[in-house]
């Protein structure tokens, strides 16, 4: 009996080996190597090893070597600079925090948001550390940043999904969002006029959808890049996508931070206690029914 099993096992191995062997031979045949010059030969050869370098490899080298870090630098300096100007010229919005408190975020929502906030912040910080790795001198610190980047991404997946389910309905675009965008949420004036927004305004909605879909793409591309889980050309494309999307996400992240911490004085409290003052809700979320 044992011998019978052994022979079947061996046969299976031979079959698998034969199949892969012939597949390899076909691959090489498909390479269609003409007896041309050494340069032609080398070109064919490299196509098999490193993909189409002149298509994606060169583009990746150009973008990563020249542009990505510069674009990130512009984003993390220009966006805060614009907000600083906004803060100095227009200033923060103040609301009467003694007015009737309105329950805005449930405990569940706050916990989910807190986990998401911590992991997402870590993702942004470690991601930027990797982009500006040479500034920190590389080595141990940046290696740790990579590990934390991975762990934070895995942690963020859960609250990311929960937020998607939890706020899906409220985050769907509505007609009044267009009006909100035309007046940029009323943030360009000191006046306190009711702004057309329900529970979430158009800016929050944009951030939400960008983070959900962008986050999904970032998670998948990041996973592939981490383990080189695809052909080299695909990995190159994914790395470029990961970086370009990263620029957008960093910009939105900075905006979200500025809005919650500086632009609306005391609005951070609502994510801690769950209550927003009535004064603030009536102005910034005038269509919200409570």
């Amino acid at each position: 009996m044992q011998r019978c099993f052994a022979s079947v096992f061996l046969l299976a191995i031979f079959l698998v080996a034969g199949l892969t062997g012939s597949a390899l031979a076909q691959d090489l045949q498909a390479a269609g190597l003409a007896t041309g010059s050494s340069a032609d030969y080398f070109n064919q050869l490299m196509l098999g090893i490193t993909g189409d370098w002149q298509k994606y490899g060169e583009l990746f080298t150009f973008l990563q070597g020249q542009w990505f870090s510069k674009i990130f630098l512009v984003v993390i300096t220009a966006v805060p600079a614009v907000f600083l100007l906004h803060y100095l010229i227009i200033g923060a919005k103040h609301f009467d925090h003694d007015s009737e408190p309105i329950y805005f975020f449930s405990l569940f929502a706050r916990v989910v948001h807190f986990v998401a906030a911590v992991s997402f912040t870590l993702l942004v910080i470690t991601g930027l550390m990797i982009v500006f790795g040479s500034f920190f001198g590389g080595g141990f610190i940046i290696r740790m940043a990579r590990y934390i980047h991975l762990i934070s991404a895995m942690v963020f997946a859960l609250p990311g999904l929960l937020m998607f389910v939890m706020w899906f309905k409220e985050m769907l675009p509505q007609w009044h969002d267009i009006k909100w965008m035309f007046i940029v949420g009323g943030y360009l004036s000191k006046e306190k006029k009711p702004v057309p927004a329900a529970k979430f305004n158009a800016g929050q909605k944009m951030y939400f959808w960008f983070a959900i879909f962008g986050g999904g793409v970032m998670a998948y591309t990041g996973y592939i890049i981490w383990g080189f889980g695809a052909s080299l050309d695909i990995v190159r494309i994914f790395t470029m996508v990961h970086n370009v999307l990263g620029v957008g996400i960093v910009a939105f992240f900075l905006t979200h931070c500025y809005m919650s911490v500086f632009a609306i004085a005391g609005s951070l409290e609502s994510m801690k206690t769950g209550y927003k003052p009535k004064d603030e809700v009536d102005i910034l979320h005038s269509l919200h029914k409570y």
Partner: protein, 195 residues
């Protein structure tokens, strides 16, 4: 200072993989890492050719351009080296390299890539020359000893040439002049009955 260069004469390479073994053995390369490999196309058919490939020590090396932590640098003689203590194993150099030269040992935490390892032209690394640390991290420093890299030194058919670019080019040019190259190389007609 002269610039160094590798050149593999594809009309001489017989796919013995001696260069791969010499490199792995002589430099104690970790398992799963190949600083050099021999690739054969059209195996068993007319036009079969083998070539030994490793880092080409490019003049304008793409790996140096993309490295986010500036771990890769180039010596005055053109040899491209990596500082393994700075490297974070992100793999960008592998994506940028047209030759697939950068290699990454596996087995770090979370399946992360370890520090990049690639052909050093047998010139060691940034550590002190002939130090134990240099030998442990990067292998031999034969350039400092005045020798050619192991792979080229042991090549039985003298297909793999390494050294001063001008001398290498002269040797190859002389060979091509005497025996032709590609389909015109000596012995081709007799071996494959082509006219």
């Amino acid at each position: 200072m002269a610039r160094v260069k590798f050149l593999c004469d594809v009309d001489r390479c017989i796919d013995c993989s001696g260069c791969v073994i010499a490199c792995k053995e002589g430099n104690h390369i970790p398992v799963g890492v190949n600083r050099r490999r021999v690739i054969t196309l059209e195996q068993g058919k007319p036009g079969e050719k083998s070539i030994s490939v490793s880092c080409m020590h490019c003049a304008d090396a793409p790996c140096i351009a993309v490295c986010p932590v500036d771990a890769i640098y180039q010596r005055d003689d053109g040899i491209v080296l990596v500082n393994k203590k700075t490297c974070i194993g992100c793999g960008y150099c592998f994506m940028a390299c047209p030759f697939g030269a950068p290699q990454f040992p596996k087995g770090s935490v979370f399946g992360a890539r370890g520090a990049m390892d690639k052909c050093t032209f047998c010139a060691g690394g940034p550590e002190e020359t002939f130090s134990d640390e240099e030998k442990h991290l990067y292998g031999q420093n034969r350039i400092a000893e005045g020798k050619v890299p192991l792979c080229a030194g042991m090549c039985a058919t003298k297909a793999l040439l390494a050294g001063d670019a001008d001398v290498v080019a002269d040797v190859y040019r002389e060979r091509v002049f005497q025996r032709g190259s590609g389909a015109n190389a000596w012995g081709w007609d007799k071996a494959y009955k082509k006219k």
